[in-house]
């Protein structure tokens, strides 16, 4: 792994327009391996657009994205996934009628060896075995990996979606409001999971509205406002007031840590 100060994923001057609306007007972003970085901003600040650009869903109109120091231009989410960049969508993007193991491997199914595999015969025992292992690694307890996802609780579904991303991401995972629909206990569990994932050396980018949550789980916080990064804080050294101030612009302060190469 690269040293902790070598950025894993950077965006520089990213511009994205939708018709007359300029969603991103020269946005920057920096993320390091093994950290949880929160991306916050008011509604319409450009969080989703930036994440979509970084995860290959949207192509930027201008600007540069670098992964491991090399410029990348993802042709789509699949391309990003091939580069080890996964996304956990807010709606979780699971097939509710399939079981947890099948969801974990959706699109990347394990097939049998030889001729049977050639015609696409699935190796379900292997998928289930691996699924149990993957959930155990995340500290997630699933009663039954063969039960349809729709029968699971909200937190368990979230865990399945996270496990799916973790199983295949080796660099970056984007998580869009991962705890928005969860109760207190489940929320704590998912955040614990997030922490554990980062400890494996993967960078977790957390998009969240929940300031206390951001401060409790993130290592750093990057703030977007009006399509630009307006601030970047170390979570331990900042307060909710400061974050809110940066988000709303009432506290117009330049980059605090001064590490952003895109500061202008």
């Amino acid at each position: 792994m690269a040293s902790a100060r070598e950025p894993l994923l950077t965006a520089h001057g990213v511009v994205k327009r939708f018709g007359h609306v300029q969603a991103l007007s020269g946005a920057d972003f920096t993320a390091y391996p093994g950290e949880v970085v929160a991306l916050i901003g008011d509604n319409g600040a450009g969080k989703s657009t930036l994440v979509n650009v970084l995860s290959g869903v949207l192509a930027p109109d201008a600007g540069e994205v670098r992964l491991d120091g090399a410029p990348v231009r993802f042709s789509g989410p699949m391309d990003a996934q091939r580069h080890g960049v996964e996304t956990v969508y807010q709606d979780l993007s699971l097939a509710p009628d399939l079981d947890a193991a099948a969801n974990l491997y959706l699109g990347r199914e394990i097939v049998r060896g030889g001729l049977l595999g050639r015609i696409g015969v699935l190796d379900r025992p292997a998928m289930r075995r691996e699924a149990v292992k993957a959930f155990a690694e995340l500290g997630v307890e699933l009663k039954d990996v063969t039960a349809a996802v729709t029968t699971l609780s909200g937190g368990q579904r979230q865990s399945v979606a996270v496990a799916r991303a973790v199983a295949f991401a080796h660099k970056v995972i984007f998580m869009d409001e991962p705890t928005a629909a969860l109760g207190v206990v489940q929320r704590a569990r998912v955040l614990e999971t997030v922490r554990r994932v980062a400890d494996q050396g993967i960078c977790v980018v957390l998009i969240s509205h929940n300031m206390p949550e951001v401060l409790s789980v993130a290592d750093r916080v990057e703030v977007l406002r009006l399509g630009r990064r307006v601030a970047s804080y170390t979570a331990a050294d900042t307060t909710i007031e400061e974050l809110v101030g940066a988000m709303t612009g009432s506290l117009d302060e330049p980059n605090r840590t001064g590490e952003a190469e895109g500061a202008r």
Partner: protein, 344 residues
Amino acid sequence: MTAQSEKAAAAVGGRAAVPDWVRRAATLNELWTFVILVALVLFFTIAAPGKFFTTYDITQIAVNAAIYLVLGVGMTFVIITAGIDLSIGSVLVLAAVAAGEYNIHHGGATSGWGTVAFCVVIALAVGTAWGALQGAVVATGKVPPLIVTLGGLGAALGIAELATGGQDPAGAASTHLQNSLGFGKVLGIPWMVILAAVVTAVFGAVLGGTRFGEHTLAIGSNPTAVRRAGIPVGRQLVKVYGLMGLLAGLGAVMWLASYGTTSIAGHSTDNLKVITAVVLGGTSLFGGRGSVLGTVIGVFIPAVLTTGLIVIGVQQYWQDVAVGVVLVVAVYIDQLRRKTRERA
């Protein structure tokens, strides 16, 4: 450790003393439909002792059901993607007419095995092409499958009528085809039944145990998730509707073999019969769930009802009434179940 935690989970999960497999079985749609089928068979066996449960009736029921079973297997895949195919009867007719016309011009009823083989290829190719074409339109996402295949229903039948002038041509099937697949038996089992059973077994395994089946189920469950997982949803839909077309083409071959004629006007309600069977078998019209085994049971319920009612001397038209009611109830229950699961 895994086995231990699984056991522990089962102990916690099993509410009362009900074993895990019993609870699981009770949630299977196929089981309930199967219970209904068994109940019907028992009822008719008791109501008409020695008359219903004879080899002749069983064989006859199976032969009558064979074509619907083949169509039903394809329809199961289509409905699992949350789609529908209304065109199957017309596609069957079109494939039969295409094969029939070739046969007429290459020896008619006395044509040889070579012609028979070529007719089979024509029927399968026409069906597959038509189905794949409909699938391609469905895959654009611009026109709902109901409308695509309603258009396909009219167009395919129209082309078949144009080609024949609306009359069933004489000599559409070779006597070779009729005497083999149509009336032939192996160890007392008609070839029609064997063919239908093989098709059912093969595609049942495809649905339950292959990547193709898994992707079909996933698309019906959440197409967005499937797209994000990098699975080409459009291509899968073309394949699924193409498979339906292929099986409609096979149905055409079976029809020609059984009846020796194209029966242009005789397939207008195939779609409704087959969709009914698939839905009775527990496949969800909303997509994502279903099985070929369920469809087998769903095909046999109306078939058993028809034969049974004739045997006990009740007007067989009651069959239509009964199936209609059961169909509505089946979808109602599916809807209820879906709601309660989502709330949980």
